[in-house]
């Protein structure tokens, strides 16, 4: 008589990369659908993971379903590799799946990020996973997801345009800060997640894949390579990125990167490059250990710090 133990696999307390095979299969199927319909929000089951909801569980589920041993993973939060939650998510990936970590955007196979896209242009084959708190760009005008879903189906974006128009009428300009809505492939309006406007043009005709996943809201969407991504703007009111191009990083001397603004005791202000992976490579090069710096989306120059 065959014993059950000979038929069953070895019991493990946890699956590779935490999610069980059926959960991964479901997420992967939704990801493929999201790639097939750029910018369209695909609902998914969104399993609980051992991280609090709202702390990157959507991005984490996408990343976990892609991991395999030997992949190099970069995890950033607000542009920084050492931000506490980025460290925690990276620790979880290392603990549950034998992957390698890197802080170099050029050598990462997967970059999971909250609120930033690296300054160095990502290449074909790389995957950017953005954590998304609210996948619904229509939420300011329509809180019911079921109604918003219908509006996307009808490409009914009139009220969205009206919202932007009212901002201009009231304030003289579009007041939207981060998470600027964008039209994807000429069909679906998506939120690019709360990245600064500075980062939004990096998604247009990008060579890498971007997945945007909201674990709490159970929706994911994607921007496949070489996809048209345009901010929603009126012909006569230009899209403006944050006015950071002329700022200089106090540590690395870099100009042309998105900056963190640090208030000083004396009432003054200091600026630091938000993309710590890039800043550290530049600092390392300046210190005599050259590091390869990739093509950047914006012209980046070095000045004396």
């Amino acid at each position: 008589m065959t014993r059950l133990s000979t038929l069953a696999g070895t019991w493990e307390p946890m699956s590779y990369a935490f999610l069980d095979a059926s959960a991964k299969r479901e997420v992967r199927r939704r990801m493929l659908k999201a790639l097939a319909i750029p910018g369209h929000q695909v609902p998914y089951a969104s399993r609980e993971v051992p991280i609090a909801r709202g702390w990157g569980t959507g991005g984490l589920q996408v990343t976990l379903s892609l991991l395999r041993p030997g992949l190099r993973v970069k995890v950033i939060d607000q542009g920084a590799d050492d931000s506490v939650n980025a460290v925690n998510l990276r620790r979880f990936m290392m603990r549950t799946a034998a992957v390698e970590q890197t802080t170099d955007a050029l050598e990462a196979d997967i970059i999971q990020s909250r609120h930033r896209i690296p300054e160095e242009t990502l290449a074909e084959g790389q995957i950017l996973v953005l954590q998304v708190p609210d996948p619904e760009p229509l939420r300011p005008i329509e809180p019911d997801m079921s109604t918003a879903r219908q509006m996307h189906g009808d490409a009914d974006y009139g009220r969205m345009w009206l919202m932007l128009y009212e901002q201009i009428v009231r304030s003289g300009r579009v007041t939207q800060g981060a998470a600027y809505p964008a039209m994807v492939n000429g069909r679906h309006v998506m939120t690019p997640s709360p990245i600064p406007r500075w980062d939004l043009p990096k998604l247009h005709m990008a060579r890498h894949i971007t997945f945007l996943s909201a674990g709490r809201e159970k929706r994911l969407h994607a921007v496949p390579p070489f996809t048209d991504v345009r901010p929603l703007v009126f012909d006569d009111v230009p899209f403006a990125v944050e006015d950071h191009a002329t700022l200089t990083c106090a540590k690395s001397g870099l100009r042309g990167t998105f900056m963190n603004e640090i208030p000083l005791d004396d009432g003054g202000t200091l600026y630091e490059t938000s993309d710590t992976g890039l800043a550290i490579k530049v600092l390392s090069t300046q210190g005599g250990t050259p590091q390869p710096i990739g093509t950047t989306w914006y012209p980046v120059t070095e000045t004396q710090p």
């Binding site: 699956s15 399993r47 993971v49 590799d81 931000s83 990276r90 079921s146 990245i195 006015d243 914006y298």
Partner: protein, 377 residues
């Protein structure tokens, strides 16, 4: 150098977690046992919100989190989601449950009787401060009734259906594996009946109470009566591969039916409408609030408690608590972006590039990037 950069945050979160755990001290099997035995109502509440009936695991989760309820529920949910589904249990009918407590506010007496069971409803809420002076307070012994109560009690709705007071729709015949499962599928609206009841079963007791209470205070249409409230034990019966059904054990279960008089908008006929909620563990306030919400969501309307999407989206304990505490995470990129917009308004203009310029630049850069991997200058 990159390693150094990531060490600051890593050391900080490691020590912060140690500090939390050090204040709790060691977790012992004895402590878990004590929690399970002395805090059954808390265990039940956590089991319900976790939708996982396991007293040992619930007690362990409480020990591990020092009683931080949302953390305890998340621990159990994250554990639950990795477990294989071995079988789908047979449907539990109310009249087949062993009721410890069964009351109805709709009738003075009813088939099977009013069974008060264990409750603090009619207690005087006085603190037993003697205990703090070193005394042991032993509750007086329960005096047995002359006649043992019936093990099984009929469901009140059976009588109401026979009287033609409530509809008796034919149950949809769904294969066990095809029953919609909220833990394996996204919640879409209008929600499947199964998804709605599963949402309420897993719902946050406090959140459901707040919304149910809002309905009671007039922010909803239905003014319900407790038709039947049960705290019971139910056999979990599954089918052996050879086809024989058998019980794998009992779970504690609470259920509540709320009833309200309604007019059918089409036929103008008056009838009684039911709202229902059941959950694992004994948690009366949750099932009363939940069945009130179920009743009001059938009515529909603009009020929070009548809007299914509003209710079900906001009574999810893990999602709601997680997103609330996520506000602690750094947001300085979004804040910086908002500051820039604010300063731009104050500056009244400033140097901005046109959309065409931005997009042309993007296309030119992509084309250039295809041809060269040289860094931009």
């Amino acid at each position: 150098m990159t390693y150094v950069a990531s060490r600051g945050g890593e050391a900080a979160i490691e020590q912060a977690e140690r500090l939390f755990r050090a204040e709790l001290g060691p977790i012992t099997p004895r402590q878990v046992d004590t929690i399970r035995q002395t805090l059954p109502w808390l265990i039940d509440r956590v089991m319900g919100e976790a939708s996982l009936h396991d007293r040992d695991l619930a007690a362990l989760a409480l020990a591990q989190t020092g009683g931080e309820l949302y953390e305890a529920v998340l621990l159990l949910r994250a554990w639950r989601t990795t477990q294989p589904r071995l079988a789908v249990a047979e449907v539990v009918h109310l009249d087949q449950t062993f009721a410890h407590r069964r009351i109805s506010a709709a009738f003075k007496d009813l088939p099977g009787g009013q069974i008060l069971g264990p409750t603090l409803d009619y207690s005087h809420r006085l603190l037993a401060t003697d205990v703090l002076d070193g005394q042991t307070v032993t509750p007086p012994a329960v005096e047995s009734a002359d006649m043992p109560g019936a093990a099984l009690l009929p469901a009140l709705t059976d009588w109401q259906k026979a009287q033609g007071l409530i509809d008796d729709p034919t149950p949809a015949s769904v294969a066990p594996d095809d029953i919609p499962d909220l833990t394996r599928e996204p919640l879409l609206f209008p929600a499947a009946r199964a998804h709605r009841l599963q949402s309420l079963a897993r719902g946050d007791t406090g959140g459901m109470l707040a919304l149910g209470y809002s309905a009671q205070r007039g922010y909803a249409a239905a003014h319900p009566t407790v038709n039947e409230l049960r705290l019971a034990e139910a056999e979990v019966r599954v089918r052996h591969p050879d086809g024989t059904p058998f019980s794998v054990g009992r779970v504690r279960l609470s259920s509540c039916e709320m009833v309200s008089k309604t007019t059918n908008p089409d036929t103008k006929a008056e009838y009684l409408k039911l709202g229902f909620t059941a959950t694992l563990g004994w948690n009366e306030v949750k099932v009363i609030a939940g069945s009130t919400l179920d009743l009001n969501m059938q009515t529909g309307g603009a009020r929070p408690a009548t809007n299914e999407e509003f209710v079900l989206s906001h009574v999810e304990p893990v999602e709601a608590s997680g997103f609330c505490i996520h506000l602690k995470l750094p947001h300085y990129v979004t804040f910086q972006s908002a500051l820039d917009a604010l300063r731009g308004i104050r500056r009244d203009g400033g140097q901005v590039r046109s959309a065409d310029e931005v997009m042309e630049e993007a296309e030119a850069r992509t084309a250039a990037a295809r041809n060269t991997m040289e860094p931009a200058q």
